[in-house]
């Protein structure tokens, strides 16, 4: 055990003495989350919309006023027939069309129910999502404040229809994606580099000709990174919660456990990479091209999986990051527990074990 502690201590010295490692470990997560956070800001302001009011009564007028006075939307155009809807979108000025059905107030009073249709231009999927959510929220608030006062419950049915990118499911929420990316980077890339560095410097040769067995060597290399990656995850979660108002609906402990699982997965992948690469350079390239790019591009972090060609969708379904993103989204946004994300958790556990088994098998007790 003393051997092992000595090893871990040595590993920390390596990390804390290399300013580049420190920068990657601590500077990058913060920088990345802030960049993604601000670039992909969900603040919206003065979004141009069109209104197609088929009813033109006092209730529709009131709702329109509420929407326009919210500060988020300005009216670009009033539409008065169906053909104009398509044209309005095609001109590209407007992001949303709000359509009130005919006899809106009348229906609301008689049937207790009326419909508003929201069409959103999802060529910019993220904005479309936010815009339609804001609109729905304003209408809901209006409904609560104004209509529920009476005895009869009135219901305004908002039907959101997303145009041009109908499956909006994959629209990225940057926090889970960034988390996956950073944990992948810190865990997989840093460990694979640090193990191959021992090979490159010749120190592996000396370690091998010592009573240390492969397992303690690997564990000793990996454990510091478990701690550091976990700290990174905490920073990201805190930043996203306090700076970007990311909801935290679910159980924090559960989220942290899932995060730990993902870190272990990435570490075992890092070990695997180190067993196949001969130099730090090679380890870095494999990490970059085999991990970072797919994590960014195929996990649904940036591009919705549903819009990918079939073959990429298939590829994406083996990306561990994809499942982690689903888990984080579910826990943070929906407050789900293990019952909802057990499949994803199982997949991550399985692939971690697989990576570990392969890397233990591949780890060489000799130089060749």
């Amino acid at each position: 055990m003393s051997r092992f502690i000595g090893f871990v201590k040595k590993e920390f010295s390596h990390i804390f003495r290399d300013y580049r490692t420190m920068l990657i470990l601590f500077g990058m997560p913060v920088a990345q989350i802030l960049i993604f956070g601000y670039v992909v800001s969900n603040e919206i302001k003065d979004i141009k919309i069109a209104i197609y009011d088929k009813s033109k009564d006092n209730v529709t007028q009131e709702i329109t006023n509420k929407i326009l006075s919210s500060g988020y939307f300005i009216i670009d155009k009033n539409i008065d027939n169906d053909n104009q809807v398509e044209d309005a979108f095609k001109k590209g000025n407007i992001r949303e069309v709000i359509i009130f059905e005919p006899h809106f107030a009348e229906k609301l009073e008689r049937e207790g129910k009326a419909s508003i249709q929201i069409l959103a231009d999802a060529s910019d999927a993220n904005t479309a999502n936010i815009v339609s959510n804001y609109t729905s929220a304003i209408i809901r608030t209006y409904m609560k404040n104004e209509l529920m006062k009476g005895e009869l419950p009135f219901v305004i049915d908002t039907k959101v229809q997303i145009l041009y990118n109908k499956e909006l499911k994959g629209v990225y929420m940057f926090v889970p994606g960034t988390m996956a990316l950073i944990l992948m980077l810190v865990s997989a890339m840093m460990t694979s580099i640090s193990i191959t560095r021992e090979k490159e410097m010749g120190t592996m040769e000396v370690l091998l000709v010592s009573p240390l067995r492969p397992m303690p060597i690997i564990l000793g290399k990996v454990i510091p990174y478990v701690g550091l990656a976990f700290m990174n995850a905490l920073v990201i979660i805190a930043l996203s919660y306090f700076v970007f108002d990311m909801p935290m609906q679910g159980n924090l402990t559960f989220l942290l456990l899932e995060t730990l699982l993902f870190i272990l997965m990435a570490l075992s992948l890092g070990i695997l990479i180190s067993t196949v690469s001969k130099s730090q350079m090679m380890a870095m390239f494999i990490s970059m091209f085999a991990l970072m790019l797919p994590t960014m591009l195929l996990s649904g972090f940036i591009f919705p999986i549903e819009n990918m060609p079939k073959i990429l969708q298939w590829l994406s379904s083996i990306m561990p990051a994809r499942y982690f993103i689903v888990i984080v989204k579910n826990i943070m946004i929906k407050g789900s527990g293990i019952l909802v994300v057990w499949k994803e958790t199982l997949y991550l556990t399985g692939i971690t074990i697989l990576f570990l088994v392969i890397s233990i098998k591949k780890f060489k007790v000799r130089l060749e």
């Binding site: 051997r3 010295s13 120190t203 040769e205 000396v206 000709v209 010592s210 009573p211 000799r366």
Partner: protein, 304 residues
């Protein structure tokens, strides 16, 4: 003294297309300082890596204290001090941290075996807070030796420990090895420097993957069996050219400021050769008979 520390039988090592070691056998008794002498690429490192269980022999077998290097590699690794050819300590750790680390890895402490490394460590102790990467070549080797010794191994395997080290440090390093030998540690060391051979109890002269000779340095030089002359003149280069032209001269090798030559019938009249050379416009000629050293023997063996 009769106990065998290292035994190799018919070791062969083949890398993809290159035969690095072509059937090597030797036995090293316990407590011996054994030298593996040969030029770069002779197969010294491959042999050492087989002995240290780092690579597998393609053919043949080797044992260290009766433990097979393939089957019992775990046992061997507990009890062996190894210094690879390249400086293989952590450059970003200080002298002291490196030593402490290796002590812990071997499950011991610096205090426990301080006696053993004291002579060596005391020389680098003033720099104990310096990073290993910032040490001079000689100090690096002393640190590496300290680290290899820290767990008090019964055998030390040192792969070219003095390559790239200045003459003074080399001398100091060998003095340390001799002191360690006196403490009963078996030492196997390789070197490309022929002059270091005389400091070993026995040497194996190795060339192109084969051992040409194993014996005490003294016996090897005694077996040279021919007269050897050293000669020099003002124009060494021309002298070599000219000597190689003479029918009666067998071998001509430059050796420092002198040229070592042998003759085909093992006799030569110094004066007539000098006269001959003078006629070839050589001046300031000096010539004398000398005792052969290991390098002469090495060259001789290589030619046979």
């Amino acid at each position: 003294m009769n106990e065998i520390a290292v035994e190799a039988k018919g070791l062969k090592k083949t890398y993809e297309k290159v035969d690095a070691v072509k059937g090597v056998s030797f036995a090293i008794p316990k407590g011996e300082l054994f030298g593996l002498i040969g030029p770069d690429g002779a197969g010294k490192t491959s042999i050492f890596r087989i002995l240290t269980t780092l690579i597998l022999p393609t053919e043949g077998k080797a044992e260290i204290f009766g433990n097979d290097v393939v089957k019992d590699y775990k046992k061997i690794r507990n009890n062996i001090g190894y210094m690879p050819q390249r400086f293989s300590l952590y450059q970003d750790l200080s002298v002291e941290e490196n030593l402490n680390f290796f002590a812990r890895v071997f499950g011991t402490s610096v205090q426990e075996n301080y006696d053993l490394i004291k002579d060596i460590y005391i020389q680098i102790e003033p720099f104990k807070n310096r990073l290993a990467g910032k040490l001079s070549g000689g100090m690096k080797q002393k640190l590496a030796l300290s680290c290899a010794l820290i767990h008090s191994p019964d055998i030390l395997i040192l792969d070219e420990p003095t390559t790239g080290v200045d003459a003074v440090s080399r001398k100091e390093f060998w003095e340390m090895l001799i002191r360690l030998k006196q403490k009963g540690i078996t030492i196997v060391v390789s070197t490309p420097y022929m002059d270091e051979a005389n400091l070993c109890d026995r040497v194996a002269l190795i060339q192109d993957g084969r051992i040409m000779k194993i014996d005490k340095p003294q016996n090897i030089t005694n077996e040279f069996g021919r007269k050897l002359w050293a000669i020099k003149s003002e124009n060494i280069y021309k002298l070599i050219q000219d000597l190689r032209q003479f029918e009666f001269i067998d071998t001509v090798y430059p050796f420092g400021e002198f040229i070592h030559i042998t003759s085909k019938d093992n006799s030569m009249d110094i004066n007539s050769l000098i006269l001959l050379l003078k006629n070839n416009n050589h001046s300031k000629i000096e010539m004398l008979e000398v005792q052969p050293n290991i390098e002469d023997c090495f060259m001789e063996l290589m030619n046979n």
